[in-house]
Each structure stands twice: as structure tokens, then as C-alpha cells.
């Protein structure tokens, strides 16, 4: 394959990855306990979110491999995962590497989910919130096509959809159906166990 072919594939797969990531984000945001799209069972929303995220990983792989194989500019295999290891377009490629690292972390944590505490999995999954804007910045900072009107329009649409989904998730979801333990059920560790010293009276209460 010629360098130009790789270049076209890199750009195309990059755009597709961004679109798929956006769809993944939107689906993740609107998949809450109470949300149901009309006619769609909830588990289907969930499965769609998972499968599209996997598809985005596939296109991401194509994107990074072709970008390295394209010898017109030198990026190097290391730069895929290590930020600032690329001589070309250092900062924007670094952003891409960061976004990829986050995506891989989320992906791996989901595969190994049954082997970790639920809190750990959720914490890692929250990295996804950082992943998408970084990927967006990478696209427009580095992308050769980022001046094209249709690409700008596409980016704006991505931001719009994620923005709406985020607002919906923050303000519209019914929080009243989530059980919450009472506030006084938690007492910080330092005040819990108190040894009884002789003659000094009862330990100080919390």
C-alpha cells in the first residue's frame, strides 16, 4: 500500500472512530435505571452501548496502525500508547495516545469486571468522560481535514449530542428511586475503635 492510501485510511478511520465514540458516550449517558427508549428493551440499549464501543476499538486500531505504517511522517509504534513519544505533531498525537490509553483501560476493566470491586470498575469507567473530549481535541488539533466544512459540522453535531445527553443525565433522570443509606450510617475510621485506658473514664464519643 502506498503512503497515500494509509493516509486516507487513517483519516477516514479516525473520523469513524470519533463518531462511534460519540454514539457510545450518548448511549452510556442515557442508559440509566429508569430510561427506556420506546419499543426498545433496556438491555438492548446496554448491549448496543457495549457493541458500539467494541466497534470503535476496532476502528481505533485501524486508525493507529495505518498512521504508523504511513511513512510520510514518522510517528513510531511507541507513540500509540506513550504520549509525546512522536516526533510528528507532538502535542496532538500525544492527546490521541492519552485517549487510547483511557479507552484501553476502560475496555480491559470491563473484561476483568468480575475480578474487581464494583467501585473500582466504576471509577475506571468514569475515565471515559475524559476520553471523549480528548479524542475530539486530537481530531481538530491534528486532523488534516479539520478545516473542511463537513468535518466542522460533524464535530459540532458530536458536541451537541453529547451535550444534550449529559444535560439530560444530570437533570432529567429520576433520582428518587435510588435507595440511599442514611447519612449517619458512616463514621470515619479514626473515631471508631477506642482502647479503654485504665482510670481515664469512658472514651470520647463521636
Amino acid at each position: 500500500m502506498s503512503s497515500t492510501t494509509f493516509w486516507y485510511i487513517t483519516r477516514a478511520s479516525g473520523i469513524v472512530t470519533l463518531i462511534l465514540l460519540t454514539v457510545t458516550m450518548v448511549l452510556g449517558l442515557i442508559t440509566t435505571s429508569r430510561s427506556r427508549a420506546r419499543g426498545w428493551p433496556g438491555f438492548a440499549q446496554q448491549e448496543l452501548h457495549r457493541r458500539i464501543s467494541m466497534l470503535s476499538m476496532v476502528f481505533l486500531a485501524i486508525h493507529v496502525v495505518t498512521s504508523v505504517l504511513d511513512t510520510y511522517v514518522h510517528i513510531g509504534w511507541l507513540a500509540i500508547v506513550v504520549p509525546f513519544a512522536s516526533p510528528y505533531g507532538r502535542f496532538w498525537v500525544a492527546l490521541g495516545a492519552v485517549a487510547l490509553d483511557l479507552m484501553v483501560a476502560v475496555f480491559v476493566s470491563s473484561i476483568l469486571r468480575s475480578h474487581m470491586k464494583p467501585g473500582t470498575w466504576r471509577g475506571i469507567h468514569w475515565l471515559a468522560y475524559g476520553c471523549w473530549p480528548i479524542a475530539l481535541a486530537h481530531t481538530f488539533g491534528l486532523g488534516t481535514d479539520s478545516g473542511e466544512h463537513w468535518v466542522i459540522a460533524l464535530g459540532a453535531l458530536c458536541v451537541l449530542f453529547v451535550g444534550i445527553a449529559l444535560l439530560w443525565r444530570l437533570f432529567a433522570t429520576a433520582r428518587q428511586f435510588s435507595p440511599r443509606p442514611p447519612v449517619d450510617a458512616h463514621i470515619p475510621p479514626s473515631n471508631r475503635l477506642v482502647s479503654t485506658p485504665v482510670g481515664r473514664g469512658i472514651p470520647r464519643d463521636r
Binding site: 428511586f177 443509606p181 449517619d184 463514621i187 475503635l193 477506642v194 479503654t196 485504665v198 482510670g199 464519643d205
Partner: protein, 394 residues
């Protein structure tokens, strides 16, 4: 501490076999055999903790407070025996925040024991939050381990509770007092009292429409009415509440039922914690049950949907029933919820409330019918005769 050895070579084995022979069951409401609990904790390593459950979240119960203020050494001795037998490295006495008198008494006893080098294992006091659910066994261990007084879902009761990686053995104060007495006097003295399938004695707190409320020690299997007589009931009670707020009402025709697990289960009640509350003739059983249900709903740990939403919904319907403002769908709705909510929490808190409501509908059936017709009794509006930590409005 003296121990009767019997035929055994080591005192640990002597005590283990005494406990097993005695058939001592937990006195904190669960009724689980103490010897099995001990075997489970011992089998999972040493260096664990014995937790003395002095929480007594049940508002109608005073026995643990009484034991810890009047006989703290007996309870601590019992804990020491169990700690030695499962090779624990510490004993933690849990007394809720706010009960400083009880804590002071235990603290004084521990200081005495330190002075006389009486104890083999370190004893310390901890002060969990004063909530009903904090006294639940797994919630108490969870609080000591992680600071969260919330029950833990335990589908497999075969694995012990843990603090860190070490096993935790939790026992009610009264159970530990019995352990100390069995150690000192042997199982025979324990077995000489009570019934064959529910042996020994137990402490019962009597309150409500009585002249002399208080805590008495009775043989297991003593008829309910005989226990109530110890406190001189004011008039003929309409009903007796047995087992605590998560227990059940007992109608006058069953007042001669022995206070023992099997016999109470047979009439749709439960032994629960040693509690008897007498409902006087000028009180409304439905209103009191509604108040208790509201209290129990407020005391939910807030973790499990069926409890968090089911108990308040049931409490709402009971309040409507008490006020005589019953919509046509209420009876069926209430029954459905009672069936659906039971058994679906991480702990047995909702089950206790549901058992109480079911017994109310049965024992006060005539009143229920009148209230449903829109004719509530005059007593429903009266102030409560039950004890609550904070006022409960219907």
C-alpha cells in the same frame, strides 16, 4: 474464672461440648445455636474478634442495658471464654452513641479487669451510631471494619463475618452471659430449666399497660401470661406483643402459649428478642402497629429497594387503616405488598415488620373490619402506649 471440666482433658473441649449439649441459642433475636456459630468462627483462623452486641436497638427491650450495668463481668467472662476457644485476639463491646451510662459501667468493669489482670484477651469499647439497623450482626461488623453501619448481603451463611481478613464472632450480651454460666456450672444446670427443644432461661422486658415494667429472668417455655403477670398488668390486655417490634401480636386465646421458638411459631408469632408489651383495653392495636411499622420503615438501612419503598408504602396503608380512611383497593394492595416485600432484603428487617403487620391483621381482625368500613375506634387517636426513641406521627 472457674470451669467444670467434666471428663475432658482441656477446658476448651469441655466448654465446647458443654455448649453443644446445652443447646444454647442466641438471645439476640436470631436464635442460632451458639455452638455452631463458634465452630464456624474457629474454623476460619485465629487472631479474629469477638464482638459483644450491646446495641439493643429494639426500643421495647432493656435486658442488655440491665446486664451491662448490673453484671458486666458475666458478659465479659463469656466473651473471654469464646475468644480463647476461637483464638481471637480482641473483644469489642459495642454500645450505641448516647448510652453513656452503660458505656461507663462497662468501662469501669474493663478497668477493674485490667487492674487485676483478669482477662486473657484485650477488651475495648466501640460506639456505633444509635440506629436500629446498626445492631444487625453484619451491619455491626461492617461498621467496625469499614465505618458503615449497613447490613451486608450474605447468601452463604457458611462463611463467617470478617473484620479485615480475620473472622468475627458476634453475640448478644445475654447469650454471652449464658456462656459464662454454662462454663462455670456446666450444661446440666442450664438444661434443668426451660424446655427440651428450647432450654435454659431468658431475660424478658415487660412494658406497656403494666404497673411494674421491667426485666425478668424466666425459664424458656413459661406461658406468656405468666411472664406478663410478673409486671402486674393494669387490666385485661387486648393482646400481648411478643418478640419485639419485629415480633407479633398474640390474642388472649393464646396467652397460655409457652414463650419458646417452636410454640410461638405454631401460633403465627415469633420468640424474637425477649420482649412482652401489653396492649391495654383502651388502646388501638391497629394504630400502635401503624406507628411501629412507620418506625421500622424509618429505621431501614436504605440499601434495598423492596425495604426502602415497600415498608413506607405498607406504613402508609396501615396509617390509613388506623384512621379509618380506607380506599377499596387497600386490603388487596396491603396483602400483595406484604407477600412481595418479605424475604427480598439483604437482612431480615423488613420481614420482622411484615410479620408484625400480618399478626395485627389476624389478631385484631374485628377491629380491622370496623376500620375498613370507615368506623375507626375512638382509641386510634389517643397518644401511643409504645416506646419510641422519637415521637412517631401517624
Amino acid at each position: 474464672m472457674t470451669i467444670s471440666l467434666g471428663n475432658e482433658r482441656s477446658w476448651q473441649r469441655a466448654l465446647a461440648s458443654s455448649l453443644e449439649r446445652s443447646g444454647l441459642a442466641g438471645r439476640g433475636g436470631g436464635g442460632f445455636p451458639a455452638s455452631i456459630k463458634l465452630a464456624l468462627a474457629s474454623a476460619h483462623g485465629s487472631g479474629g474478634t469477638v464482638v459483644v452486641n450491646g446495641m439493643e436497638g429494639e426500643p421495647a427491650s432493656d435486658k442488655d442495658k440491665v446486664l451491662l450495668t448490673q453484671a458486666p463481668h458475666l458478659v465479659l467472662d463469656g466473651a473471654q471464654f469464646l475468644a480463647a476457644m476461637c483464638r481471637s485476639s480482641q473483644i469489642v463491646v459495642c454500645i450505641p452513641v448516647g448510652r453513656d451510662g452503660v458505656a461507663a459501667s462497662v468501662n469501669h468493669a474493663i478497668s477493674e479487669r485490667l487492674r487485676h489482670r483478669h482477662s486473657m484477651v484485650d477488651e475495648m469499647i466501640a460506639r456505633p451510631p444509635d440506629r436500629f439497623i446498626a445492631g444487625e450482626e453484619s451491619a455491626l461488623v461492617n461498621w467496625i471494619d469499614n465505618g458503615q453501619a449497613l447490613p451486608v448481603f450474605r447468601p452463604d451463611k457458611g462463611t463467617p463475618l470478617r473484620i479485615g481478613r480475620r473472622p468475627a464472632l458476634v453475640h448478644n450480651t445475654e447469650t454471652l452471659a449464658h456462656v459464662a454460666l454454662i462454663a462455670r456450672h456446666g450444661a446440666d444446670r442450664f438444661l434443668a430449666r426451660g424446655m427440651v427443644d428450647d432450654p435454659g432461661t431468658c431475660l424478658v422486658t415487660i412494658s406497656g399497660a403494666v404497673n411494674q415494667p421491667g426485666v425478668v429472668e424466666v425459664d424458656r417455655g413459661t406461658p406468656l401470661w405468666e411472664i406478663a403477670m410478673c409486671s402486674s398488668p393494669l387490666n385485661s390486655p387486648q393482646a400481648l406483643l411478643a418478640g419485639g417490634y419485629g415480633g407479633a401480636w398474640v390474642a388472649p386465646k393464646h396467652f397460655s402459649t409457652p414463650y419458646a421458638s417452636q410454640q410461638l411459631r405454631a401460633i403465627g408469632a415469633t420468640a424474637g428478642v425477649g420482649v412482652i408489651v401489653a396492649l391495654g383495653p383502651s388502646a388501638c392495636g391497629i394504630a400502635e402497629t401503624a406507628r411501629i411499622t412507620r418506625y421500622l420503615a424509618q429505621q431501614s438501612a436504605g440499601q434495598c429497594g423492596p425495604c426502602v419503598f415497600g415498608l413506607p408504602a405498607i406504613a402508609d396503608d396501615m396509617a390509613r387503616l388506623a384512621h379509618g380512611r380506607v380506599d377499596p383497593g387497600l386490603p388487596a394492595r396491603l396483602q400483595r405488598r406484604l407477600n412481595e416485600v418479605s424475604g427480598r432484603g439483604a437482612c431480615r428487617h423488613p420481614d420482622g415488620a411484615i410479620g408484625l403487620v400480618r399478626s395485627c391483621l389476624q389478631v385484631f381482625a374485628q377491629d380491622v373490619a370496623a376500620h375498613t368500613r370507615g368506623e375507626p375506634c375512638v382509641h386510634a387517636r389517643k397518644p401511643t402506649t409504645m416506646r419510641f426513641p422519637r415521637p412517631i406521627t401517624l
